[in-house]
């Protein structure tokens, strides 16, 4: 599992590559939260297009980041085009509270 976390036009952009499960989610959570806190940014964009696997640990991770964002009065968006990830996201009900976009640009436009 590899993630890049960077400031991108006043948003914290997190790009995932690899498999997001219980094993990898803990280190990912720490990296995101530290950068979110350090940069003092409100909005988060999670780019899940590079994921080759995600189970419900990914849902827990997204829910947790959503809560942090709401506390800071920020907005969280997801970028995804992967049908497997989409299936789990739909099942979890997360799509009722978080919007999904096909590209980073379209996510930024809608923040």
């Amino acid at each position: 599992m590899y993630i890049s976390v960077e400031k991108h036009k006043d948003n914290l952009l997190i790009q995932f590559k690899g498999e997001l499960d219980h094993h990898s989610s803990e280190i990912v959570r720490q990296k995101i939260d530290q950068q979110y806190h350090d940069h003092g940014i409100r909005n988060i964009i999670l780019d899940l297009r590079g994921l080759t696997f995600m189970d419900s640990s990914g849902i827990g991770l997204i829910m947790g980041r959503y809560k942090n964002c709401v506390e800071k009065k920020g907005k969280i968006s997801i970028v995804n085009d992967n049908p497997h990830v989409d299936k789990i996201l739909k099942m979890s009900g997360l799509l009722k509270i978080i919007n999904v976009y096909p590209t980073i640009e379209s996510a930024i436009e809608n923040i």
Partner: protein, 145 residues
Amino acid sequence: MERNYMKLEFLSKSSNESFARVVVAAFASQLDPTLEELSDIKTAVSEAVTNAIIHGYEYGEGIIIVEAKIIDNEIEILVEDKGMGIADIKQAMEPFYTSKPNLERSGMGFTVMETFMDSLEIESKKGEGTKVRMRKKFNSLSSKE
């Protein structure tokens, strides 16, 4: 009737989650599944193994057993631990219920297994362990018959 069987035993380390789901997916691939079916199986196995690690062996490492049986175009997967067992299976199966909210668990594990597989059975005894049995029929092979 086509039959096959495999058994895998490993230590309840989170680094083995990916190992377990890949092995089961590789075994299932002889049924010529679609990518979606393979992905469903990998996800369901990952959920069951994660449960065994986080809940079954919460207080120390133990052995997780994964068995898979192929009968015609159906796979039956058993994930077993000899850990602490589930006190209330009905409650554990409720969507979004988690006994570990501090770990940011979504409480979706059993719901994912139920949704992605055709059937799910759970047997558990407090202090003795848990068995999760899941079945899935593969459409890709049955459609050729």
